[in-house]
């Protein structure tokens, strides 16, 4: 049975692929595709696609399972009597922390929103100067930015920890926000995008009309780089939303959802329903942001290459 389904699917995919070829392209292009090759690559895609998505689907389904279905041996993939009880039990699980779940959710949303907005703004201002002005040292700076793409907050954990502790930023929201704003991915992507999408002629025309750099940035450049802004929004939000600071936040009322998640998931199989429920809650916002920004992201990433 499974084989038949797989074959049907393959057939359909193959049809689509060859369909696109014959409509869109010349005869000579179709010549470069073999049937056997098509078959293998559709199989490969289906397998990998299942590997990517099945764990997530399983997580969503498990979060709706009542307790007795969680304890069934062997575990079932599907859920027969869906219930919201895992979600409703979440606030109660946290009662020993004396901080309501809503506070963690607020912290997460607040920090992610503030960081994302500042990240887009700061990165695009810097990228504009680096790509379209003639300030001194911009080449060196961009080279540094490009090499700094290598270093994540994880590799810089120790010296950043020292800086936080000397500036007394431990146990403040700054720990979440500031290091991320220094991440160079935003400036890098934005600068590459501006080089390709903003013609100098437009800026020169604005100059002749008397516009300064502030004016050019705000009324000409920013509206033109909206796709790239959406991209930075996605990456910024995704990273900050799932960040779990290491040793810099002790005050429970300043912690975010990933901290709750690691507490609940430490509870073992009896709490797996609730743990899955938290995971699902964590999954939703990044997915929403991606769905909103998706077409812009795929458009603007085109300029991301590193030229050496």
């Amino acid at each position: 049975m499974a084989v038949i389904i797989a074959e049907k699917k393959t057939g359909r995919f193959l049809h689509r692929i060859s369909g696109r070829r014959s409509r869109g392209l010349s005869q000579s292009r179709r010549y470069t595709r073999s049937k056997v090759g098509n078959f293998f690559y559709v199989c490969f895609l289906i397998l990998l696609g299942l590997f990517s998505v099945v764990p997530l689907v399983y997580c969503v389904l498990t979060s709706f399972k009542p307790l007795d279905e969680l304890m069934i041996f062997p575990p079932r993939f599907s859920v027969s009597r869906p219930t919201m009880q895992n979600y409703l039990a979440l606030p109660g699980l946290l009662s020993n922390l004396r901080i309501p779940l809503s506070r963690y959710i607020f912290n997460s949303l607040f920090i992610s929103a503030v960081t994302t907005i500042l990240y887009v703004l700061i990165s695009s201002m810097a990228a504009f100067v680096l790509s379209k002005s003639h300030v001194r040292g911009k080449k060196v700076m961009f080279l540094a930015v490009q090499y700094a793409l290598l270093f994540t907050p994880f590799t810089l954990a120790i010296p950043q920890y020292l800086i936080f502790s000397y500036t007394r930023m431990i146990d403040t929201y700054f720990v979440y926000i500031l290091p991320y704003l220094a991440s160079t991915m935003g400036v890098f992507l934005m600068k590459q995008y501006m080089e390709g999408s903003i013609p100098d002629a437009i800026l020169e025309a604005a100059r002749i009309d008397g516009a300064g750099y502030f004016r050019m940035f705000w009324s000409i450049v920013l509206p033109m780089v909206k796709p790239c802004c959406m991209t930075l929004m996605l990456f910024g939000f995704r990273d900050v939303w799932s960040a779990l600071p290491n040793g810099t936040i002790f005050n429970e009322s300043l912690k975010t959802l990933p901290a709750v998640m690691s507490q609940i998931t430490a509870g073992g199989i009896a709490r797996s329903g609730s743990a899955m429920a938290v995971t699902v809650i964590m999954m939703i916002p990044p997915i929403l942001v991606y769905l909103v920004s998706q077409s812009n992201v795929l458009e603007s990433m085109n300029s991301a290459g590193i030229k050496e």
């Binding site: 504009f128 700094a148 793409l149 994540t152 994880f154 500031l178 997915i287």
Partner: protein, 302 residues
């Protein structure tokens, strides 16, 4: 942009001022949270420093201790290298190959499929699922599957057995590795002009492999370097994933990485000097890898 400055001295001054003001927020943050930490690690690596007593100069002793006297460091370094050598190139190739395959589909199918592949990276901390899947009792999904099919007779302790932890962590890391570089590849591939392929077909390109080597890869060179940098950066900084799955320290340090070891040395044992020396070694390894990979990629399609 050349010669954008028109007008006299006063306007030039205003322009420069505005440029510096716009650059300032990022430049300051970059200096404080990236450049300063790198310099500070380098300097501190020559000192004994616990954040309470005054730093004491110790020369290269931290580096000697690391290489000759610290078995745990050598184990974590070995783990990190194994990890990077497998997940780096595999993640890099997979993100390109998948994007290349997806490029053949219609826009709608492509959008849906790329969402599917991107999902594990997008949702961030979802690796908890694997903790349940590999949990040690018979309720763990993998255990129960193998038990009911008769491959094993009693549940295996996946995440507490040094033989399994490394392959599991590598698998989950690959599961999450279709991220930024995957999106960049998809986007880059869509923008190679169709006329290039048509010209190639006329010039005698016979199959998709020739097309890949002579047209696609050379057009994607810059994008490949970007994607390689992203993969290097994530492969060497892995620490949260093995800690979440196998704990820290994991069984006989089988999946502890340099980054998890240095945060332990720093934020738990307060051996800041030693932790800094480890960071410096890590930075050097990453930069050298980055330069070598850059050279290799520039040869692609020649």
């Amino acid at each position: 942009m050349k010669n954008i400055t028109l007008g006299g001295k006063k306007e030039r001054f205003r322009d420069n001022l505005q440029c510096y003001i716009m650059l300032a927020p990022f430049a300051l943050l970059f200096l404080i949270f990236l450049v300063l930490p790198i310099i500070a690690s380098f300097v501190l690596s020559f000192f004994e420093f616990d954040m309470v007593s005054t730093p004491r100069f110790t020369g290269f002793s931290h580096y000697f201790r690391m290489l000759f006297d610290d078995e745990v460091f050598l184990t974590t370094a070995k783990n990190t290298l194994i990890f990077a050598v497998i997940t780096g190139p595999a993640g890099f190739l997979l993100s390109f190959v998948l994007a290349w395959f997806l490029n053949e589909f219609r826009p709608f199918t492509r959008t849906v499929l790329s969402f599917m592949f991107y999902c594990p990276a997008l949702v961030g901390n979802a690796y908890y699922i694997w903790q349940v899947a590999f949990s040690n009792d018979s309720y763990g999904y993998i255990n129960s599957l193998l038990l009911s099919m008769g491959f094993i007779t009693e549940p295996l302790n996946w995440l507490r057995d040094a033989a399994y932890t490394m392959p599991i962590v590598i698998m989950v890391q690959l599961w999450m590795s279709m991220g930024v570089s995957f999106l960049a590849n998809i986007s880059g591939l869509q923008n190679i002009g169709q006329d290039m392929y048509e010209a190639g077909a006329i010039d005698g390109i016979r199959n998709r492999w020739q097309e890949l080597w002579y047209i696609t890869l050379p057009s994607m060179r810059h994008m490949l370097l970007f994607s390689a940098v992203i993969q290097i950066s994530s492969a060497f900084s892995v620490s949260q994933l093995p800690i979440a799955l196998a704990g820290y320290p994991s069984v006989s340090n089988s999946v502890d990485t340099i980054v998890s070891y240095l945060s332990d040395a720093g934020t738990v044992r307060y051996e800041m000097g030693y932790a800094s020396a480890i960071s410096v070694v890590l930075f050097l390894i990453m930069i050298v890898t980055r330069i070598v990979v850059g050279k290799l990629i520039n040869k692609v399609g020649d």
